[in-house]
């Protein structure tokens, strides 16, 4: 089975797995929702008696049938017994994706649950009963955390929530430039909203079919690096920040295009090469000398000339060649001559091992 067929099979299997999960979901209406309004005379902790000890939000401690039976006799109230049997169970809920401790918070609100829980579940209540985030931000100032992308430790997983439009979560400043700083230290923070399928829209440079600004021309607010006529300006961007290119693109990426545009040394003798170098490129002291350019930005050279032993540089700069010693000052202090014999790359020029 070839790789392409495997990929198609994988897609089909994944799709089947996804579809099978969608068949016959249990409708919420089939479950009985606990009527809080009929029990208003009780205190919250009469039923939720362990809540003051809960350090996590999870559904397991929800009161069960035994708690109902403290007041209701199933034998005398069969309707209640039926309702209790049909109550939504903890397994009907996902555990919360928030880090929240009732044990910590209840003393701060003097045990008044309704400070946060202003809407309780009830058969007539169709909307969400989970306290909204505004309840949290009424005490917790959120702007600083939002700006600095400090979602943790409160939020554990945003993806499970139906989020507001993404525009409400636009990352401030030059986030295109700065986002790596956050991701390096806490990728988990990014992962609360963004799966890697999202990251791959820009970061899968080896495999994507087109650049993001081509696929998403409608995202006019986005800061796509390669938007518009990037070809005309790419060498300027590459000089300003050579490392920025090399974070995503290896030499093969640059050369694959340069070769097709007859700009690569690989096309020498194959239909002609369009020499991109200025006059004086091989003349020391010309002001355009290639040695100076290579010292200043060798990453640009690698865009066409990174072919190992077949590199055009070797022709002149091998030991005994007309190009002389190409190493920068201080190179020998980091690389003793003994390394030559051990390093195949060195032996391309130092053919005799010294």
């Amino acid at each position: 089975m070839n790789a392409r067929k495997l990929a198609v099979l994988a897609v089909a299997a994944f799709a089947f797995a996804g579809c099978s999960s969608l068949k016959n979901p249990e409708p919420r209406s089939a479950k009985v929702v606990f009527p809080h309004s009929r029990h208003a005379s009780l205190g919250c902790t009469d039923c939720h008696d362990d809540i003051s000890k809960q350090t996590k939000v999870q559904c397991a401690p929800l009161p069960g049938a035994a708690k109902c039976n403290d007041c209701h006799d199933p034998a005398k109230e069969p309707a209640v017994a039926t309702a209790v049997a049909g109550l939504r169970k903890p397994s009907d809920f996902k555990d919360s994706k928030l880090t929240f401790s009732h044990a910590d918070h209840l003393p701060k609100v003097n045990g008044k649950c309704d400070g946060c829980h202003q809407v309780l579940s009830d058969p007539a209540q169709k909307g969400s009963t989970t306290p909204p985030m505004a309840t949290c931000t009424a005490c917790h100032h959120h702007a600083e955390e939002f700006t600095a992308a400090r979602c943790q430790p409160c939020h554990v997983d945003f993806k499970s929530y139906p989020l507001k439009p993404v525009s409400a979560f636009a990352h401030a400043g030059d986030f295109k430039r700065d986002h790596a700083r956050y991701a390096r230290t806490s990728a988990a923070t990014c992962a609360q909203c963004h799966d890697q399928t999202y990251c791959a829209q820009c970061h899968a440079a080896e495999t994507r079919p087109a650049k993001p600004s081509i696929i998403f021309p409608e995202k006019v607010e986005a800061d796509f690096i390669h938007r518009g006529d990037f070809i005309s300006r790419h060498q300027i961007e590459a000089q300003a920040d050579p490392a920025s290119c090399r974070r995503c693109h290896g030499s093969g990426f640059c050369e694959s295009c340069h070769q097709d545009q007859r700009l690569s040394s690989r096309t020498l003798g194959a239909g002609g090469t369009r020499n991109p170098h200025p006059q004086g490129w091989v003349s020391p002291g010309s002001g355009q000398f290639h040695g100076t350019a290579a010292r200043n930005n060798v990453v640009s050279c690698a865009a066409c000339h990174d072919q190992g032993a077949a590199s055009i540089c070797v022709t002149c700069h091998r030991v005994g060649g007309i190009g002389g010693n190409p190493h920068p000052a201080g190179y020998s202090s980091q690389h003793p001559r003994g390394d030559i014999a051990k390093t195949p790359m060195c032996r391309i020029c130092h053919t005799n091992g010294v």
Binding site: K94, D95, E144, A200, I236, G250, A309
Partner: protein, 439 residues
Amino acid sequence: MRTRSAAVVAALVLASTGARADTVDVSSTTMLMWQKDFRLPASTNTSQLVELRSVVPLLEILNVSARDIRNPVAEHLQLELSTWGGVELADHRWQPGPSLSSDFSGDLDVAYLKGDLLSQRLTLRLGRQHVVEGNARMLHVDGVEAVVRLPENFGISGYFGKPVASRFDAVGTDRTTNATRGDYAGGGRVSYAYPGWAEGGVSFAWAIDHGNLSRQDLGGDLRVTPYRALTLNGFVDYSLYEARVAEGNVMATWQLWRRLSLSADYRHLEPDLFLPRDSILAVFSNAKQNDLGGNLHLTIPCLAAGLDADYHALLEPAGTGHDARLKGTAHPYGPYITVGAELRYLHNPDNGYSEARLFGGHQMGRLAFTLDLQGFYFESLVNDHRTSLLATATAGYDLGDGFRAQVSGGGGYTPFVSDQFEVMAKLVYNQTYHLREVR
């Protein structure tokens, strides 16, 4: 190949066991494009013109994300898949590589299974993925990553795999285009977090290429919040092989008040250390590059507007450059109307460009329009021209049930193509299915 086979087997096992996901996101994008690609003439010394070719690629991009897949082995089991396939209906595109050997192409961008084991102490991710944390440099790898959560907010993570290469003719090159060149790459990170105050780690990255060391770096990262409105970030990546710092940066972000935040940063780079150590070009330079600058972000509530101003001085080996940007976005008549403008000035010691951009969008019920105008003025001649001007317009219609249709057209002139024109039709399907209620 083994990795792909394992992914297929895992998928079949999941499907056959009736594994059910609580949340399934499906996204499908079908695109048909028509555009003119150029080929440069063979020589600058002749009167040969730039050759134009019509390219008509048909692309299908599929994303599937299934979370909280119920299964007997792992908690929070998650499947992430991003894949695409395409066919060239006319000439082959040259971007991002030379002519493909076949009219058909396709690849996997991401395909992994992730789950928690040992009461969420261990998270495993298996398949094609990105490694994000520490000094991994967003490594695209076919492999495995493991994250272990230790007591007292300590953690250890490790990864190992084969750097992704275009194995399906996607780029059409016989060479790897991965920034991390190598047969195998691995690394890890030891981290510590003091919730709400600090988090950081020490990381290691390693890659080997045909038996030779391609990369061997030690990294350190730290984020500190000494008080609520101030965040300090720092990162350093040190090449153990060259005994030099490849990259170091520090940044301070200060939220002066709710509507205004400021940041200042300094970065040191030694760009040659971003080349593989087994590259012949790795021995030619040890140049250093620094940049220093900051950013201001201002929110103007009455216009629902945001303003960003950035400036960085580029301290390059050949002299000092400047990178300045001003961008404003506003929603003056409600959230459904967007207008924005962007100015940029990038100047290296021997070349540079200025950019002006206007953009906007209007959503009217199911209809949405956008317009984008972008112009450049180049300090040095590019193919004997100094200017580039492109306009792109889109019109989209929400068909309902998660479907959206869109057409876009773009045109203008660039230093390489005097009358550029391209059109695209796109059909997008986005749907999220929730099976259980989130409390």
